[in-house]
């Protein structure tokens, strides 16, 4: 059984003009210890999917359908307090901005100890020892001294290390990292990703890693999910999706990544932009921009089908005649 199973997940926002569907019928699994990359244009629903899994959708956003299971047990219909006990303990989260994720008025030590003691039965002294251990683990020099310092005394990269320690200190088996390096200096981004990968691997923790950086996906993830307009376009092993994408959208996305190399290939941009939630076309959501579009694409909504080692939602693979 997979660690996390997401089945037909729908995330909705009721508005005056009707209900918007930010995440539409998304299904995927995350295996024990696996790193799943999630990519897609801005507004594709990546963050909303993560927020739904960890139970932190901000009202009026809500789960409008489907199931989320952790170890086979449903977690999408738990009471607020039951869900709170899962957060931090079983599912951890790391957000974009390390500068604002830490409470400025508490030392990093206080924040670590409080998190550890919320979830694990432990004396204050043991929790402190463990907290210092975590600071060392995430590569913070002089952890005993740093334990008593406030967030403003750390640099951005160091703060994100603290955030990683905070997300992992109660030993969850799944981490949701939503663009964990976007706000950081380019020079420290790679270090933070490498750290995240190392701590996950060492503890056999799985991760959902949302990023815009294909290089990060290529180096870090085992599988990758591609989202478009709230739907899952394609999911599969990284090597497969990156080199031989099945879905025309993924192909376009890969084409638009400038390659580092002696002879940069021509930049293939996907024409147009992703539709707003209010006017998603019928049939395949990608049809206005798809180079391979055909008549049925405007009528039939493609389902996710197994293709090669992964799965893609495109009528080309549904045996629909062109």
């Amino acid at each position: 059984m997979a660690l996390l199973e997401v089945e037909n997940l729908k995330v909705e926002f009721p508005t005056r003009k009707g209900v918007l569907t930010a995440v539409d019928n998304v299904s995927f699994n995350v295996e024990q210890g696996e790193i799943l990359g999630v990519v897609g244009e801005s507004g594709a629903g990546k963050s909303m999917t993560g927020a739904a899994v960890i139970g932190l959708l901000e009202p009026p956003g809500r789960i409008g359908g489907g199931q989320i299971r952790l170890d086979g047990k449903r977690i999408d219909n738990l009471s607020p307090d039951e869900m709170r006990k899962i957060r931090g303990r079983h599912i951890g989260a790391i957000f974009q901005d390390p500068l604002t994720s830490l409470n400025p008025l508490f030392t990093v030590g206080e924040q670590l100890v409080e998190t550890i003691r919320t979830h694990l039965p432990m004396s204050a002294a043991d929790a402190k020892k463990r907290a210092i251990g975590w600071l060392a683990e995430v590569g913070i020099p002089a952890p005993d001294r740093r334990f008593d310092q406030y967030p403003h005394q750390f640099s951005g990269g160091m703060r994100q290390r603290v955030v990683i320690a905070l997300a992992l200190c109660a030993e969850p088996r799944l981490i949701i990292a939503d663009e964990p390096t976007t706000a950081l200096d380019v020079s420290v981004q790679a270090q933070i990703i490498a750290l995240l990968k190392r701590v996950c691997r060492e503890r056999n923790a799985a991760a959902i890693l949302v990023t815009h950086d294909m290089g990060v996906i290529a180096e870090t993830a085992d599988r990758v999910a591609v989202m478009y307009a709230g739907r899952l376009a394609e999911i599969g092993p990284v090597a497969h999706v990156l080199q031989k994408p099945s879905h025309p959208y993924t192909a376009g996305l890969m084409g638009s990544i400038p390659r580092v190399g002696p002879r940069p290939k021509r930049l293939i941009q996907i024409e147009g932009s992703m539709p707003r939630l209010t006017d998603i076309p019928s049939g395949c959501a990608f049809n206005p921009r798809c180079p391979k579009v055909f008549a049925e694409c405007h009528r039939i909504r493609p389902e996710l089908r197994p293709v090669a080692d992964g799965a893609a939602a495109c009528l080309l693979y549904e045996g629909v005649t062109q």
Binding site: I54, R87, M158, S187
Partner: protein
């Protein structure tokens, strides 16, 4: 920290010197001090003698210096009206005002902060909405009107609480306190409530607004993601951040309470410094007015300086910290 302290104290001294200068000008130019001492039919020569004795012919700077030194020693001369030393008059009236202001300040915090938190956490509750409306009324009614309404309801109609005076007081050294007798405590209720009402509503609305703002912050979202209990999130993480602006406003308003105490003391015939000041104004009793001015300013300055220091305690970012430089670097 030490540098900060010294700088802050220097500023406070400068402010006090400026206030003393205004008080000095009042002394010197609000009526002729000689007239207040000699009898109506004194000769010109007698007048000159008094002038000399009082040092009124000395250069301004020397007179001012003398005034400041005397003021620092607590010597503001003798009241024109009842010929007693001003310092003694003020000392006699200080406890009444201090106790009134203290109770009002505590009430505004003890009621204002929890009510603010409550209305922020349950913004749609019936009680919250009711409190919001009440606070609007509280903030817009003139205080003497609420004071008179309070007297009407609790003293005249219900007869529960006294409408004037301090009740029985007990002397502890030179301090007379109303805290130790039942009638003294009862007498405090209405005046302190009237006095605190404006500040209470202000603090409640401020705490509410700040709390709502803080609850949207990223570190609150991350605290939720860490699975912290609601209690810890609301009362540890959110409240502490909320309190920073509250401390400022509270400090500013504490001075305001002392100033507004003049009105309360008049409405309730409370024998405090404010009432003394109003009498002094009626009789142009300049030494008392000057002393009141200096004294209230001193309290203002002490409060503001303490608030600045308190910030440093609450907010670690403001502490000048030698480890900070070495703590940099990814």
């Amino acid at each position: 920290m030490f540098v900060f302290l010294v700088r802050r104290l220097l500023q406070a001294v400068m402010v006090m010197l400026a206030v003393a200068f205004i008080a000095f000008l009042m002394f010197r130019y609000l009526g002729d001090p000689v007239n207040n001492i000699v009898s109506q039919d004194a000769t010109q020569q007698q007048r000159e003698e008094v002038r000399q004795r009082l040092g009124l012919d000395d250069p301004m700077a020397i007179q001012y210096g003398r005034f400041v030194i005397n003021a620092a020693k607590g010597d503001f001369g003798v009241s024109y009206r009842n010929s007693r030393p001003v310092s003694a008059l003020l000392a006699e009236r200080l406890p009444a005002t201090a106790e009134l202001v203290l109770v009002a300040a505590l009430l505004s915090l003890v009621l204002g902060i929890p009510l603010g938190i409550y209305t922020a956490l349950k913004p749609r509750g019936v009680l919250s909405q009711g409190l919001q409306i009440m606070s609007l009324i509280g903030i817009s009614l003139p205080t003497f009107v609420t004071g008179i309404l309070l007297i009407l309801v609790f003293s005249v109609w219900l007869g529960w609480l006294p409408s004037f005076g301090r009740g029985d007081v007990i002397d502890i050294g030179w301090w007379s306190t109303g805290f130790l007798t039942a009638s003294g405590l009862k007498a405090l209720i209405l005046p302190s409530f009237m006095l605190c009402l404006f500040q209470l509503t202000l603090i409640m609305r401020l705490v509410r607004a700040e709390m709502l703002e803080v609850l949207r912050a990223d570190y609150i979202k991350f605290a939720k993601a860490r699975g912290l209990k609601n209690r810890a999130i609301h009362f540890r993480h959110a409240l502490k951040n909320t309190l920073i602006p509250v401390v400022t406003i509270f400090g500013l308003q504490l001075g305001g309470l002392i100033a507004f105490a003049i009105i309360t003391e008049t409405v309730f015939q409370w024998p405090g410094m404010g009432a003394l000041f109003i009498q002094a104004v009626n009789f142009t009793d300049v030494p008392v007015m000057a002393a009141y001015l200096v004294m209230v300013s001193l309290i203002f300055v002490i409060i503001n300086t303490s608030v600045d220091l308190l910030y440093n305690v609450i907010d670690p970012r403001l502490r000048t910290d030698p480890t900070r430089a070495s703590g940099k670097g990814a």
